[in-house]
């Protein structure tokens, strides 16, 4: 998982020309987004 995440950032770093501080900001935003993804992935709309 960590390797995948590193590759993901490497891709964004190269493809979108991000600076290191932008990468840090992106990491924070991805953490926020993943907390929302976790909530949705755990939602069972057939049972809830």
């Amino acid at each position: 998982m960590e390797n995948l995440r590193t590759d993901f950032f490497k891709y964004l770093f190269q493809d979108f020309n991000l600076t290191l501080s932008e990468i840090r900001s992106l990491e924070n935003n991805i953490n926020v987004l993943e907390s929302h993804l976790d909530i949705l992935r755990n939602l069972d709309i057939d049972k809830t």
Binding site: N29, I30, V32, L33, E34, H36, I39, L40
Partner: protein, 470 residues
């Protein structure tokens, strides 16, 4: 007869409701009204930075034309001769639409957005374009590309966004009303933090043609004004079916203000027992509870409702708006990568970690969530809640706090498409505005505005006592 500045001061204190009567009676002319607003913009907007562009010449030209029409007895309606501003996301023919960005500073529009055509047909005077968060993707109102728009009640505080300039311009009396867009609360959040009314209508009632998109599933167009009644006047102008918007629905010959002034006795208002009151600033909680008591005193039936599932609304909104926003911007993020606000760029790019399965799950969850909300509306007529859980934060503070907390409540009703209004419910001890949100059934926008207008009167005397400060 009052002269010069005294007369201008009097003119800018009127609401649209007051002025439409006075213009019809020919006791106030659109030219003197427009001049009063243009003078005030020149005087105070250097500090507030709510306008990106002021249409001084064209506004005065239109005011002269409309004055002639009115003097000849041709009255178009209550917006005839009224200065209105537009968030700089709406196209106006031969004018620039920046969408708050650096890269679109020479983006001339080839035609009007449908809502601009409708406002002009109603006789509104487009006075200029207001500031916003870049590409409308943010809640605080921060934008590094332009002089920072500030909260009119405390210039060190954020105005809220993304329709920041529209909120500040209306609250500071630089126009009588303004249009904004609302994907997760971008009309209601600045309305709440600036102490005015902001209305997100039922999904589909207002055309989005000629409006730069953020999320085609969640975007709404709505008015910001001093009162819910004035929001209704603007809604009467801008709503209606438009074949150029595939989400447009018909609601012809509907008067959004038809219920205002009638008794609210017997209207069932639900107070959610979960989520909206869980982690709330105590001053906001007090003001919201005061307003609920006031409505009960006026005959409304207050009912506690349980909706634990409502906590999923913000996440559904976040995933859909982030996915769709990235799909709109992905090519530009590569082509113009150094021209984006770094914060906005980062928020868009974070959506690269959303899979197609996640997006589809969010869309399915939206349907589930809307059905749940519709079931709640079988028991009650309206839902009341705070608009925002916190008071306005510092411009120089950590923007992630504002972006995380400010849209927690508003985005719920973008997911469901229900009409939702933010109205001022009072002020904190430090004189920062507190907003209250009223949301209702689909196509019962008139009921939301009716109850909102009752709330809007509670603190009006206090509000008036503060007006001289802004």
């Amino acid at each position: 007869m009052k002269e010069g500045n005294d007369k201008n001061r009097e003119l800018i204190l009127y609401t649209i409701k007051d002025l439409s009567q006075k213009i019809r009676e020919k006791s106030i002319s659109p030219v003197e009204l427009t001049n009063a607003y243009l003078d005030r913009i020149e005087l105070v907007d250097k500090e507030l930075n709510s306008f990106i562009e002021v249409y001084r010449d064209s506004a005065l030209k239109r005011a002269i034309e409309f004055e002639k029409e009115i003097l000849s007895g041709n009255i178009r309606g209550p917006l005839h001769g009224i200065p209105i501003a537009l968030k700089d996301i709406f196209d106006v023919k031969d004018r620039i639409t920046t969408v708050g960005s650096k890269m679109l500073r020479n983006n001339f529009a080839s035609s009007n957005a449908t809502v601009v055509d409708k406002l002009e047909t109603s006789g509104a005077i487009i006075i200029g374009k207001t500031s916003l968060v870049e590409f409308a993707f943010g809640s605080t109102g921060l934008n590094p590309h332009y002089p920072q728009t500030v909260n009119p009640w405390n210039h060190d505080k954020i105005p809220g966004g993304s329709s920041s300039g529209s909120g500040v311009a209306v609250a500071s009396k630089l126009c009588l009303g303004a249009l904004g867009t609302d994907t997760g609360g971008s009309v209601r959040m600045p309305a709440s933090l600036c102490g005015i009314s902001g209305f997100k209508p039922s999904y589909g009632l207002v055309s989005k043609s000629g409006v730069f998109p953020l999320s085609w599933t969640l975007d709404h167009v709505g008015p910001l004004a001093r009162t819910p009644y004035d929001c209704g006047v603007i809604m009467n102008s801008i709503s209606g079916y438009d074949s150029s918007d595939k989400n447009s629905i018909s609601m012809d010959d509907f008067d959004f203000n038809r219920r205002i002034g009638k008794s609210i006795k017997g209207i069932k208002i639900g107070v959610p027992q979960e989520y909206f009151f869980d982690d709330l600033d105590s001053e906001i909680e007090d003001k919201v509870n005061n307003s609920i008591s006031f409505l009960e005193d006026n005959g409304a039936i207050i009912q506690k409702i349980s909706c634990p599932w409502v906590k999923f609304g913000r996440s559904i909104n976040f995933i859909i708006s982030s996915s769709e926003g990235l799909s709109i911007h992905e090519n530009w993020l590569k082509k113009f990568r150094d021209q984006y606000d770094p914060q906005v760029k980062s928020r868009f790019l974070s959506a690269k970690s959303i899979s197609s399965n996640d997006y589809i799950k969010a869309l399915k969850s939206k349907e589930w969530f809307t059905a749940k909300m519709n079931n709640i509306f079988k028991e009650i007529d309206l839902i009341i809640s705070p608009t925002i859980p916190i008071l306005a934060t510092d411009i120089e503070g950590d923007p992630t706090i504002g972006n995380r907390k400010i849209p927690l409540f508003t985005g719920v009703f973008n997911v469901t498409g229900h009409p939702s209004l933010s109205v001022n419910a009072g002020f904190s001890k430090n004189k920062l505005p507190i907003g209250l949100m009223i949301s209702g059934r689909h196509m019962e926008d008139d009921l939301v505005l009716q109850v909102g207008e009752v709330i809007g009167g509670i603190e009006s005397q206090y509000y008036k006592s503060l007006e001289d400060q802004i």
